[in-house]
């Protein structure tokens, strides 16, 4: 089974979930996703997802200046983002249970 296809479907949810545990900037989000087990997630995919979610109004963003290194743009969930996270979680769980049932049924 090609996990990249699965990942495409679930990446929005994964990003929202990561942001819920704390605001983050682009590369930081990528690292957190990777260390959570999504090792193959692409940098461009994460960046694009962040921008898309932001453009859709689900994220806030703010710039944190730093003395050395680049200024970082942090993203965080706003109200709309949290709602989306909850709805997406429900959808995901329901889908997962359906597929689980199918698989278990077939195996039985």
């Amino acid at each position: 089974m090609d996990t990249s296809q699965l990942l495409k479907g679930a990446l929005d949810l994964a990003v929202l979930a990561v942001l819920r545990s704390g605001d983050g900037y682009g590369y930081d989000i990528v690292s957190r996703l990777r260390s959570a087990g999504l090792e193959d997630v692409g940098d461009a995919s994460v960046y694009g997802t962040l921008r898309r979610l932001f453009a859709a109004g689900h994220l806030t963003s703010y710039v944190v200046p730093s003395e050395e290194g680049p200024h970082r743009k942090y993203y965080g969930l706003n109200r709309s983002g949290q709602d989306l996270l909850e709805r997406s979680t429900k959808t995901w769980r329901s889908f997962r249970e359906t597929v689980d049932a199918l698989v278990d049924g077939a195996a039985a």
Binding site: K8, L11, Y25, G26, Y27, G42, D43, A44, S45, V46, Y47, G48, T49, R51, R52, A55, G69, P70, H71, R72, K73
Partner: protein, 415 residues
């Protein structure tokens, strides 16, 4: 394409310029977006890439892959539609095929390192193509472009100063075009790539056509025996050129007293081969006359009774390629000077029986130019009329009988 066509930006620090280069390439690959879309969606792409670059020393291309692969992934995750179908050009289609065919190679470390380095050579290519374009222009306007001197120091319409000015314009244009290549539409890019390829091929062609610089003079590989009455030199026979790359049309033969030897003088090389392969006088710019006729070297009889063209100074006739006929000229002509000489300035030696003049040419009768070797009696022998020769001639020689030999004998040279 793994080679980003970017607006080259000689930024101060290397990592930064790498980021800018990469970001510009990504933007270029998303060229089908509106400026507003691109601005909004890629607003902090540069910052993001800078962060990525800051985390690691490895080049961006190695960590993130080729810019256009990055852009494709970005396009998908941004939810954008696929780019418009490749109807935009043969070049785009070919490149696309090439991309997929070489995908394996392009993943290797060596390739990504090379791909990161090559963009820094782009400005050099912009300069080089400006120079090569100048050579193209020179080849169109200068007869002696296909020589080493012509390639190294091209001339435009015979002037090196003009060539320098043209070069300045071309350099500015080429660099300007190169810096804006990120904003090209696919169709525009096709045009630019096609033009670049043409220039590159032309360069190869020009270099291989150039005369060898090792010997200042060179001969055709197999000089022909000038046994035919009228014969045009083949296009691919080489012309005799001097060290400057100038074509040698004619030879001046002088005795020890400095006076031109009475002609015609027949010249042979050390192997007894006739020196008849001087520059074809009809190399560009061609002294073709308005009605399509051209000039041919009139053969003379040498001592052995053969028709030869290795005599000097040379005499030319009008040749009509349509009919294959030759009409003798009354006076020797110098290539390239026919057009400028007024018809009305015939030499005083002309015979008074004007109606019998054999050359009622509508075009100006050429007067001999700077061929100072022409001695008063150095003209062609009156009895060397081609139609009086026993040799069979492939072309009918249109030699009016009424031509006064007195004219011929006078063979006026420049006074």
């Amino acid at each position: 394409m793994s080679l980003p066509l970017t607006a080259y930006s000689p930024a101060a620090s290397r990592p930064d310029s790498q980021v800018e280069t990469y970001a510009a390439a990504v933007r270029a690959a998303l060229g089908d977006l509106t400026d507003a879309q691109r601005g909004e969606l890629l607003e902090d792409l540069d910052d993001h890439l800078r962060e990525v670059a800051a985390e690691d020393d490895r080049p961006l291309v190695e960590r993130l892959g080729a810019p256009d692969a990055y852009a494709a992934e970005l396009r998908a995750s941004l939810g954008l539609p696929e780019p418009p179908a490749v109807t935009s050009g043969l070049v785009e289609g070919a490149l696309h095929w090439l991309r997929s065919a070489t995908a394996g190679v392009r993943q290797t470390h060596a390739w990504t390192a090379l791909a990161a380095f090559l963009p820094s050579l782009q400005p050099a290519w912009w300069l080089l193509r400006a120079w090569l374009l100048l050579v193209v222009v020179a080849a169109l306007t200068d007869a002696e472009a296909y020589t080493l001197a012509g390639l190294m120091l091209p001339r435009v319409e015979g002037s090196r100063l003009l060539a320098a000015l043209v070069l300045a314009v071309l350099v500015v244009g080429s660099v300007w075009r190169g810096q804006r290549s990120a904003r090209l539409t696919p169709a525009g890019r096709t045009v630019v790539v096609a033009a670049d390829l043409f220039i590159a091929f032309f360069a190869v062609f020009a270099v291989t056509s150039v005369a060898s610089p090792l010997t200042p003079y060179r001969y055709a590989a197999a000089p022909e025996q000038a046994a035919q009455a009228v014969e045009r030199l083949d296009d691919d026979r080489r012309a005799l050129v001097n060290g400057d790359g100038g074509l040698v049309h004619d030879i001046e033969v002088r005795g020890a007293d400095g006076k031109p030897l009475p002609g015609p003088v027949f010249l042979y090389d050390q192997d007894g081969v006739p020196l008849d392969n001087l520059a074809p006088w009809w190399q560009e710019p061609s002294p073709e006359l308005p009605d399509g006729r051209q000039l041919v070297v009139r053969p003379q009889l040498d001592a052995a009774g053969n028709l030869a063209r290795n005599y000097f100074p040379r005499v030319f006739d009008y040749y009509d390629p349509e009919t294959g006929g030759v009409r003798a000229t009354a006076v020797p002509v110098v290539p390239g000077e026919e057009q400028s000489s007024p018809n009305a300035s015939p030499t005083p030696e002309r015979s008074p029986d004007a109606p019998a003049r054999p050359t009622p040419e509508p075009t100006p009768e050429p007067t001999p130019g700077p061929t100072p070797a022409t001695a008063p009696d150095a003209g062609p022998e009156p009895d060397s009329e081609p139609d009086s020769e026993p040799d069979p001639e492939p072309d009918p020689v249109d030699e009016p009988a009424g031509e006064p030999t007195g004219e011929r004998g006078a063979a006026p040279g420049p006074r």
